[in-house]
């Protein structure tokens, strides 16, 4: 028996997904490293709330677990970790760009349009309509691609981590939207991998900062051919 009525549910999922997309855009348009981390945390909170809504609607415990994990791992632990890294390395806390904000925003606008057309064939599949969340799929693909774009166009090591994590958020959202999440054990494994990846990359940032005296990855160009 549904606890929330369908109308409110659909609305709130739409709005939360939109919020996730908007945070991705805000990441693109912001300049401070700490802000990047805060936006990522906020995005993860929205993602957690979205999974919470779906979990409550369908009474599925595995999504509930995923929601809790999202809050604990992505919204709390990883941001804490990254903030610690940023505090300790004492770099200029501004993001360096290889593509400036205005052009980046336009490119990301194009990415959203592209994602919509990429998602269409998937949405065409029979029975896809049986889940009301499927229409969120284009947004999830867009978030993924924007994450990838952050990794390409922002030069600080920390921003690459944020880009990767944003990609993961997009992936998680896509899973939620078309399949209501992967089986629980797989989901837990994925979260574990992400946490470890963030940890390792964070440690690498320390070491890179120590060896190169910068975390600008453009400075890493000793390996050629």
């Amino acid at each position: 028996m549904p606890i929330i009525d369908q109308q409110t549910l659909v609305r709130s999922v739409d709005i939360l997904a939109t919020g996730i997309l908007v945070t991705a855009f805000l990441i693109i348009s912001s300049k401070s490293l700490t802000f990047y981390v805060r936006l990522f945390a906020f995005q993860s909170i929205l993602l957690g709330m979205l999974s919470l809504v779906i979990a409550v609607r369908y009474g599925e415990t595995h999504i509930l677990t995923a929601a809790v994990l999202t809050f604990v791992v992505k919204a709390f632990t990883i941001p804490l970790l990254l903030n610690k890294v940023i505090d300790r390395i004492r770099v200029r806390k501004e993001v360096d760009f290889s593509i400036n904000i205005t052009v980046s925003l336009i490119i990301c606008g194009a990415i959203v349009i592209l994602s919509n057309s990429v998602a269409q064939p998937i949405l065409q599949v029979q029975r896809a309509g049986s889940l009301f969340t499927t229409k969120v799929l284009p947004i999830s693909i867009a978030v993924m691609l924007i994450g990838l774009f952050v990794m390409i166009s922002r030069k600080k090591a920390v921003t690459q981590i944020i880009g990767l994590l944003t990609m993961e958020n997009g992936l998680f959202l896509s899973g939620l939207s078309i399949t209501h999440g992967m089986p629980l054990i797989v989901e837990v494994g994925i979260f574990f991998d992400i946490l470890v990846a963030a940890l390792i990359l964070g440690l690498f940032v320390f070491r890179i900062n120590k060896s190169f005296e910068t975390i600008d990855i453009a400075a890493m160009r000793s390996l050629r051919h």
């Binding site: 064939p121 998937i122 065409q124 599949v125 029979q126 029975r127 896809a128 993924m144 990838l148 990794m151 090591a157 690459q160 990767l164 990609m167 993961e168 992936l171 896509s174 899973g175 078309i178 399949t179 209501h180 992967m182 089986p183 054990i185 797989v186 494994g189 994925i190 574990f192 991998d193 470890v196 990846a197 390792i200 990359l201 690498f204 070491r207 890179i208 060896s211 190169f212 990855i217 890493m220 160009r221 000793s222 390996l223 051919h225």
Partner: protein, 490 residues
């Protein structure tokens, strides 16, 4: 029986890793790692034996599964790990003697080596495609610090690139996995075990072709990145070049095969669902692309380990090409080549490690007259070079010949000719550099102690194996290969 084998294969490396992480002394680390990897190898051989008898093994909850394909790969990977462990002792002790690494680093190395093995075995034994992904991502994480082992600027840069590029690639693969899951959920419902490979194979015909094709593109890019298919191979020369030699060897001999294994599983699934034309086209394009792109880098290379890395790109291309041909003979050739390539890469990276220890350089210009300085290493290195370039009577000659035959019989004339020409060109480059390294003037250099006896025995054994697989393949192995090829044919 199956339960025992699965727990041994996964449990031994896991326990060894924990013991290594906690243990204080070098001796303990070495003996634990040696017994651990050795026993795991042994279990893999038993697994292969069991699989020959029973076709497949499955854990009661169907979470783990092994057929001829996984058993073959498990044997290759655990064998490679065993060889790597044995080689590591001599290689790292030389570092310890020179005082370049600390006890903490040593402990980290052996612990992570075991974790690395664990993650690879996890991939090979998982029936759940989600866990296939998790294991693959875990291999990246396990090897991150191993690549950055020397903690120099160059190794950090290589490790950063490696982790970032592979994580992005593997993230795309996850999207492919999600799409696959989606296509199966829409048929079977989310309550059923829709992500199990065995389940998917049963319902393959009913899966949505459009979704599966899209999923396969992401899978190919994702696991292709991990395997080092061009153009996603850019991390490979850096990582292989900067990691310690045994780790480079295990990555080229083990990890590459694990990534290819994941790719193969999905290929089989997609082939069954939508026919093999789609995957064939993609695999042949990416395979040939990798072979061709490696050629100029091999011809104009200065660093011996980067040379080997590009050779790895080339051979991954060859295997992908063979899978793309999609005939039973080609599958047989691909599997045989995976085996031979693993052995030859171990041999080459290990002897390159020895050369590095002797000359303190990875730059080929500075390595001259090796036959006079380190005669044994130089000999096995030359054997490796002849083997890797596909000369008879070594194993790779047989496997490449099989693939070429399969290519012509399948009617892919042009690609096969391109393949032949590239392999011939690579041969020229390799022989040029190898002969200079081996036979150049050794003026001003003393003859050196040529590694430890254990290392020498290991290298000789690897060379012997290459020769053996070139002359005759033992009957049980041949049966295993044939069965694995049958699995791949769907």
């Amino acid at each position: 029986m199956s339960i025992v084998l699965f727990s041994l294969l996964l449990g031994i490396p896991f326990v060894s890793a924990i013991v290594c992480a906690l243990s204080p002394g070098r001796r303990v680390l070495e003996s634990v790692t040696a017994t651990g990897t050795g026993l795991t190898f042994l279990s893999a051989l038993v697994l292969a034996h069991e699989v020959l008898k029973h076709t497949f093994l499955s854990s009661p909850n169907a979470f783990f599964y092994a057929d001829a394909l996984s058993a073959l790969l498990a044997a290759i990977v655990t064998g490679s790990a065993f060889a790597t462990a044995l080689y590591s002792f001599g290689y790292l002790n030389a570092h310890v003697a020179a005082g370049t690494i600390s006890a903490g680093q040593l402990r980290l190395y052996y612990a992570l080596l075991n974790v690395f093995l664990f993650t690879m075995v996890l991939v090979l034994l998982s029936n759940n495609l989600g866990f296939l992904w998790i294991g693959t991502e875990a291999t990246t994480l396990a090897t991150a610090f191993l690549v950055a082992f020397y903690d120099t600027k160059r190794s950090l840069e290589a490790a950063w690139k490696y982790v970032i590029i592979c994580s992005v690639g593997i993230a795309l693969a996850l999207f492919g996995v999600i799409l696959t899951y989606f296509s199966s959920v829409t048929i079977a419902g989310s309550s059923s075990p829709s992500l199990l490979w065995t389940t998917l194979m049963i319902v393959a015909k009913k899966l949505d072709p459009a979704i599966l094709r899209l999923a396969y593109v992401f899978i190919l890019i994702g696991f292709g990145t991990k395997a080092g298919l061009a153009p996603m191979h850019t991390w490979k020369p850096d990582a292989y070049g900067e990691a310690p030699a045994p780790i480079s060897g295990l990555m080229a001999g083990g990890l590459v095969n694990v990534a290819l294994y994941s790719l193969m599983r999905f290929t089989v699934l997609v082939n069954k669902a939508v026919g093999h034309e789609f995957t064939s086209t993609l695999l042949i394009i990416f395979g040939l692309g990798s072979i061709i792109i490696a050629v100029p880098f091999i011809l104009l290379q200065q660093n011996i380990k980067r040379l080997l890395a590009y050779s790895s790109v080339e051979h991954v291309g060859i295997i992908a090409f063979a899978i793309g041909l999609a005939t039973p003979l080609a599958y047989l050739g691909a599997l045989l080549h995976m085996l031979n390539n693993a052995i030859v890469k171990l041999l080459l990276f290990f002897s390159a490690g020895n050369l590095r220890l002797a000359y303190h350089s990875k730059i080929m210009r500075r390595i001259e007259g090796a036959v006079h300085v380190v005669p044994f290493t130089a000999t096995v290195f030359l054997i490796g070079v002849f083997a890797v370039t596909g000369w008879p009577p070594f194993g790779l000659f047989v496997s490449e010949l099989t693939i070429v035959t399969a290519g012509f019989t399948a009617g892919h004339f042009l690609p096969t000719i391109v393949f032949l020409v590239s392999v011939a060109t690579v041969f020229v480059g390799f022989i040029y550099y190898a002969s200079k390294m081996a036979f150049g003037s050794s003026e001003g250099r003393e003859r050196q102690i040529d590694s430890t006896p254990m290392t020498r025995i290991l290298l000789a054994a690897l060379a012997l194996l290459l020769l053996c697989f070139g002359l005759l393949i033992p009957a049980p192995l041949m049966t295993l290969l044939r069965n694995a090829a049958t699995v791949m044919a769907g």
